[in-house]
Amino acid sequence: MSTQTPTTTEAAAPEPGEAATKKTLGIGFWVCIGWLLVMVFVAVFATRLPIPDPKFNFIEPGQAGPSKGPSTAHWFGTDKDARDVFARTMYGARVSLTVGFIAIVFGMFVGGTLGILAGFFRGWIDRIFSFMFLVLLSFPSLVLAIMLTALLDRKLFTISMILGVLAVAPVGRLARATTMQYAEREFVIAARSLGAKNKRIIVRELLPNVAIPMSALALLGMAVAIVAEGGLAFLGLSVERSITWGGMIQLGSDSSKTLQNQPWIAFFPIGVLFLTVFALNFAGDRVRTYFDVKETSL
């Protein structure tokens, strides 16, 4: 018996709706990239932009309740501690993007390496690595992430690594499948018959071909990591001493009263988180269609 299930096979054939836009990425793709670039810009230059101090309490004496709705002074309103929600949302991009980026780079590097090695050498290496991927996939990712954060610490790097570990198995399986597919191709066999060493074959012949489907996965994986970080933050388990979207959403929804009376505290960060994840998903999906990557063994 096998736990290796029939794998997800979506869109083996190009979707009819997208046939017309074949081989162009489309305007939607560039809009998404534009949004992502804005978020990256904001995250990098947050301290230099003319936005309010995200930690300052804008207490107005004599006013009932510290939290105010959106206004010209505070575009997204202020939260329960009278802090500017817009500024906090902008600063929140820092943790989300950093975590997403480090996580996926780690996942790509480790998962990609293991996957290519497994797919190339087969045999016991394959069996060990594939088993490892299976073990990792036997935990629902949030369960694994919660368990690890509870046992380790909650520094930015640790959280990124934990989410990176989650990316290892899916990336690894894709890399393995793609490698196996190409390892049988003529150019690889040719290279081998010409006496090329394994290392050379992997680096020169396989890696470039495996990298293409992985790049599409990278954008999707980053989206997954950002959502996972948000989920952890929402449970109060993400990066300490940082402004995070998940944390802001938790603050804005910790009681139904807050949600009812000050919906802006939760809904603005939800909106920005949503747009960012949407942009990553959409762009990733376009890249995948563009390179005609099949989702086998994702």
Binding site: T7, S138, F278
Partner: protein, 309 residues
Amino acid sequence: MAITLLFAVSALTFGAMNVLGDPLFNILGPIARDTSNPKSVKLIEKAKNDYNLDKPLPIRYGLWISGFVRGDMGVQFSTDGQPPVTELLKERIPRTVTLLILGQLIAVLVSIPWALLSASRADKFVDRLSTATTFMLVALPGFALAIILKYLFAIRLGWFPLTYRALDPLQTRLFQMLLPGFVIGLPAAAIYQRLLRTDLITTLQEDFILMARSKGVSKPRILFKHALRPSMFSFITVVGLTTGALIGGSIVVETVFRIPGIGSTLVEAVLRHDFPVVLAIVMIVATAFVLINLLIDVVYTIIDPRVHR
């Protein structure tokens, strides 16, 4: 294979829990360090004995796993007489299972008509709109969707209750789970819809469909009778695979809607460093995961005799 996998999962979890934490301290609190007081020492000895802490790690693991397969998942880390882990989970699992079934039911019931509608109007406005909607649903993190639905339907419109109450009669409790069920079901529905739609469009272009159509079979009949069937293979697969992801999603949903299921229990237990509970839940989830995959394999073979694996 599955057995080996579960062994590996359990050994890893057990090891991590015991190496990275101090079980004795988690059970007894400050008393664990109070070795000067004979009363505390007695308690320490008792705890060590009760939880097998004086034995080496591999033996502890052996004892635990042999208990686990016999249905004895140990005792909660507590001196206040919390019920044994098995009792606790016996009470909690049905809620999570109900929630998951409800979620899947909603997902399937929503996605099939939705996909049929989209596929029959491929590339028309309705189809494009629904594709955009699926993208949005997939991009919306579970906790965000939970908050949005709670805000709209429980707080603003007041159609659904805010919390779950274990003492209410069965149908009331099912109703209380409906909104959480949607939170779990809607993103899954989006995934199913995308898959089914693509499949259906492909099938609709095949010869036997064209033939049926030329024979004058009505469109709805074609869709239901002929087109849907071949898509069922991949559909079932995805439904099975998604179940795993939904278990993760239920953690957040149970937290937002305060349903005492195993998801929220896991979070609590992790925070309290209540290892026996964490271990048991992780193992149950992993086992369920593996079993579901096994089940898909079987179902797959039955439905499609061409698959010889």
